[in-house]
């Protein structure tokens, strides 16, 4: 049974967006109006969701890569699909690297190769169980994630100082710049769900549920940016690696310390969920590219490739955070936005030509 419901895909999208950027604040390349930049970035996510759903409505039984080949022709379609696969690979590697960076803070003595391999193996096992099992897992996850999120925001509110918030739209340029970062990560990366859409059996009736879960994730991320700005003063926000995580490290309740470890379940659930979703999308993408049909034979070979490429590409977190984290969007954002847009335009043109020929 390789079928899922819109609700389940919506939850997967929610987990993916939070897993990708809950503890990180990609828009923190500015210190003021971070939450405004996040709000602007959500518009890109909303646009992508609209484009992906429109493409899927036009060709309900095909995935975006098959639509690209059908609309643009085999050679051009394959070229664009190769770029899309590259985007998927980069998204998976970066998501894995991000969660491993966080885990290294919690488990400083455990080798990063062990942490990385464990995450990939856990994800691989879930992929082997099938897409429906992954969706049911998301159904269960959400009851763990939502209460912890509410509790997390309540705890973070104890450090909140409204004095740190003020400037709203004082400088437009930095806000636009920061929103580009947010548009790439996490909202651009949500293109991975394109390969899950053909598995949804009630997409036509319940696509609003996808918009609902997207909206909820966007709201949580905007609130996170707002909370981070209010809880950490702007100068600290500038240097914090994991701003939302830092809040929990600063909070103490009487004799209780290390509050952040209580929220470990939240961070690992959403982080692992995001890796799992991207990893499965990459697996589905490679299978589609080589027209292999369904199956799991590539899961472990691709897993090893992801691990090896991650360590080769980002051997040092210092180098990554100082340079690569800032320039990564130049490689991925154009693919995340242009690929679905071009595919949609090509599909529309193809459809119109077909109608003309019929008349």
């Amino acid at each position: 049974m390789n079928q899922i419901y819109s609700r389940q895909l919506g939850i997967l999208l929610f987990i993916f967006l939070l897993g990708s950027a809950l503890v990180y604040v990609p828009e923190s390349v500015i210190t003021q109006d971070v939450w405004v930049a996040t709000t602007l970035a959500t518009l890109v996510g909303l646009y992508l969701l609209y484009v992906l759903l429109t493409i899927q409505e036009m060709h309900p039984d095909l995935n975006i890569m098959q639509v690209a080949e059908l609309s643009m022709g085999r050679i051009v379609g394959k070229f664009f699909n190769l770029l899309f696969l590259w985007g998927l690979l980069m998204a998976t590697i970066l998501l894995l690297f991000d969660i491993v960076l966080l885990l290294q803070i919690i488990y400083p003595k455990v080798p990063s190769t062990f942490l990385t391999a464990s995450l990939v193996l856990l994800s691989g096992y879930t992929i082997f169980k099938g897409i429906s099992s992954g969706a049911r897992l998301a159904d269960l996850y959400i009851w763990l994630i939502l209460p912890l999120l509410i509790l997390g925001f309540a705890v973070a509110a104890t450090l909140f100082n409204p004095m740190y918030i003020p400037p709203v739209l004082a400088k437009i340029k930095p806000i636009i710049g920061a929103s580009i970062y947010g548009a790439n990560w996490p909202f651009g990366e949500m293109i991975v769900i394109a390969l899950y859409l053909p598995f949804v059996i009630d997409l036509k009736r319940n696509k609003k549920k996808l918009y609902f879960w997207f909206g909820l994730a966007a709201l949580v991320l905007i609130l996170r940016s707002f909370m981070v700005l209010g809880a950490l003063y702007p100068e600290y926000l500038k240097v914090a690696r994991f701003p939302f995580y830092e809040i929990f490290r600063l909070v103490t309740f009487q004799d209780f310390q290390r509050i952040e470890l209580f929220f470990f379940a939240l961070f690992i659930s959403v982080g692992l969920g995001a890796v799992l979703i991207a990893y499965n999308a990459l697996n589905l993408g490679i299978r589609t590219f080589f027209a292999l049909g369904g199956g799991f034979s590539l899961v472990f070979p691709v897993g090893l490739l992801i691990i090896a490429l991650m360590f080769n590409s980002f051997p040092s977190d210092i180098k990554y955070l100082a340079n690569q984290a800032n320039s990564g969007f130049l490689v991925t954002l154009p693919i995340y936005i242009l690929y679905p847009t071009i595919t949609l335009i090509a599909a529309k043109i193809k459809q119109k030509l077909k109608e003309k020929t019929r008349n």
Partner: protein, 79 residues
Amino acid sequence: MMIYVIILFFILCVAYSFYPLIRNKKWAELFLAIFIFLLGTLYAIQYQFDANILPQPGDLISRLDPWANSLGKFFELNF
């Protein structure tokens, strides 16, 4: 440590990928699976021995640093 990862994934690939594909005579898929596994192994060995022979996705990102810095300056961002 990376050597153990390669060995573990080799066992998993043989058990859950190569063997079922050979049994079902899916030769094209088997060839692709072996190719991806070998590519992953080569990159893993490269990392283990700190060599820099194969091209890496991170290199492309690093090459774009000057562009990112120019954009950062234009948008007045704090890198």
